[in-house]
Assembly symmetry: C2
């Protein structure tokens, strides 16, 4: 069990059980519920019989496709009001309200540049041409007839967050352009092999069927490695916002390259240098040179509970919980500091830890009620360590916008209010 | 990669690549798409520019909580029309239309006995009493403040299918009272430890807050093992149909015991012998004795593609894909027969293979166009082998209804039509 694992992992650290007992001694009523008198305890019914037990509830069939409880209607995508429609449209996942590693399809983040096309899958075609032996056009059913594979991977926008002050108030404001799902589709390698690659083939230009015909250049090595052409997300068909009926999944590569509404794969010897790989999605370095083709999303993590906009109910036991991920493979370790970076403890990682997927981490914590700063630091299987914002700026300068994977500290005030320490 | 793994796993079996080539030689146009002339191939645009590329699409914010494409509106829960409302209400997951192992929350199966209560989480309480040192009442927030854990587990009704002819036409008709999700909540053991179990504690009676106050008796060993009190499913809060705001998850135990809308845990020395463990959810054996407390769902599997109601487009390459699961742990192996049980081949299992979770299996297959029967057989880590219907009846007789985990054969006609061979 997680809590016993924690208990054993560090003899000097109190186990979750003892933390709970300690908490019970202090703020027990909040943590452990209210003790009830022996009279009501010996009875067979709780004191109150709620209204919803007195008559039958909603009958079967009222929702052939289910929806969340009306009491959860505040849990929706976080959509900035100040962005120009279309070009900068984005809706963030409400990460601080989510658990585990799977993002439900209804709350999966979206980012698009010309709105969401309403595509009829029977009319949709995928063209594969250029440096191939046999140029081809596929229907959606053609793609579905290939051998399939399913894998759980995260997807993240490279401007998540952009380097742009203020950095936002909540975890969703900061890194909500991030989600994780089980994707099903066909290995891109299999499809390319059907057409037969010519020796000069070095890049594949993917194009989407939206009104900007979104184009990105993908190195052939990635296309022949773990790239997928997918049609399903968390079991069901892709949502329109995620590329229905076909999209690319390039595990670990910046979200923009995972072209949605995929209509064309043009095999070439050179990249296309589209808008999204020249004026956008490049990193301006201190020497004034723009770093291009920075595809891989480096290791990153964030604490979601407690996080900005939340409030600790009081001192005593609180579980610290968050997510970590790396475009280079598996998360090896996550460290958490509860004393403004003076010391770090190793968090528990929830199994299964999957490659290029979100990994949930947890640390039992007993808050003493004093103001402090908490933060997390991810280390991936390559040994890469998530940098502080200062460390990132020392290398990148202050002209960059994309690929900001800095540690995000949360400030906890004496009244329990949590705010973004990077804004102060 | 899956296909290369297949290729290596059996030297006598053609690899997926060679199967694809073979298919291309026969029905290539369907499998591999249409070859296009060099003229259009050398151009930079596919022949058609669809309407949805000519104007911007649906703007951001039109769906703060997303929904599937209108072109997928036929993919909904499979709700029998002939069942009495409330008492036997059930909605099955459309398994033959789903991929991977995660069931999206909107299509997760539901089964309830007094409708779906509309519960206000602020008003909801969970009472823990009986043979404990400190009887307690918890709010939903109390439960969320405990250390949390997330695990992916299947959930299955024990009458899935019931032993009742005819057995249904589609995979959803047969075993659609089955789904799989990532659950987040607290270990039931932690909550029981807060109250302190007395030595005589042998059972926990769980009660739901629906209008029948659904009650089931759970052995204390399960409660102290992997049982969870959960509040989230696939990242977001439980749906009302799945027990919002709190439910039990007893991994591998029959669905009915995973009490939804959980309001009470009564710790006792004896089971309660409720309706659901006497007149229902027992197995009448040949000697007229009813087997009671048959909790664990034994190993089972079914082929979803191709499956009943579907039609093969023609001879040549077809991937056989399905799911396997066991209430006793991990799936060790799945065998598939494409010749009416004369011979069996080992299917590929999609990683990760998780304990008490759905496991996706696949086998590349080249249909010769002749009528045949295909079926799958699951073997779990205990070595248990999924029985044929005849083997099951030899032990159980024909009086039972629940816990039918027989192999389900699909008949494929010369025209490619797939039907349930157990009905013929």
């Amino acid at each position: 069990m997680p809590h016993s694992k924690i208990g054993h992992s560090d003899p000097d650290r109190p186990s979750r059980r003892s933390l709970l007992r300690g908490a019970a001694a202090i703020g027990g009523a909040t943590l452990a519920g209210r003790a009830i008198g022996s009279a009501s305890a010996s009875s067979n019914l709780p004191p109150d019989v709620p209204e919803w037990m007195k008559t039958p509830g909603d009958p079967m069939g009222s929702q052939p496709y289910g929806s969340p409880s009306p009491f959860e209607k505040h849990v929706v995508k976080n959509i900035p009001k100040d962005l120009p429609q279309y070009l900068s449209a984005s809706g963030r996942a409400p990460l601080q309200d989510l658990d585990g590693i799977i993002t439900p399809n209804g709350l999966f983040y979206e980012r698009h540049h010309a709105g969401v096309p309403a595509i009829d899958p029977a009319q949709h075609r995928l063209m594969l041409h250029g440096l191939v032996e046999r140029p081809m056009i596929f229907t959606v059913d053609d793609i579905k007839r290939f051998p399939s594979t399913s894998r759980i991977h995260f997807l993240e926008c490279s401007g998540n967050p952009g380097y742009q002050k203020p950095f936002g108030k909540t975890a969703s404001d900061l890194v909500g352009l991030l989600s994780c799902a089980e994707w099903t589709g066909v290995s891109m390698k299999l499809v390319l092999e059907e057409a037969g690659l010519r020796p000069e083939a070095k890049w594949v230009i993917a194009e989407g069927a939206d009104a900007v015909a979104m184009k990105r250049s993908i190195p052939i090595d990635k296309c022949l490695d773990d790239a997928m052409i997918v049609y399903s997300q968390n079991g069901e068909r892709l949502r329109p916002q995620q590329g229905y009926p076909l999209r690319l999944i390039l595990p670990g590569f910046e979200g923009n390259m995972n072209v949605k509404w995929l209509r064309r794969l043009h095999v070439t010897a050179e990249p296309v240098y589209s808008r999204e790989e020249t004026s956008k999605y490049t990193d301006l370095m201190p020497d004034g040179v723009a770093r291009e083709f920075s595809f891989v999303m480096e290791a990153k993590s964030i604490i979601l509970r407690p996080s900005g906009g939340q409030r600790l109910s009081g001192s005593g036991f609180h579980e610290i919980s968050g997510i970590a991920w790396s475009g280079r493979g598996k998360i090896r370790r996550v460290d958490v500091s509860v004393d403004d970076g003076s010391s770090w403890q190793e968090a528990e990682l929830q199994e299964p830890v999957l490659t290029r997927a979100l990994t949930r981490f947890r640390l039992p914590w007993r808050w003493n009620g004093e103001p402090t700063v908490i933060q997390s630091r991810a280390i991936d299987e390559t040994g890469y360590v998530q940098p502080t914002l200062a460390e990132l700026i020392a290398v990148r300068g202050e002209n960059f916008f994309y690929h900001n994977n800095a540690i995000w500290p949360w400030r906890i005030a004496v009244d329990g209010e949590v705010s973004n320490a990077a804004n102060s």
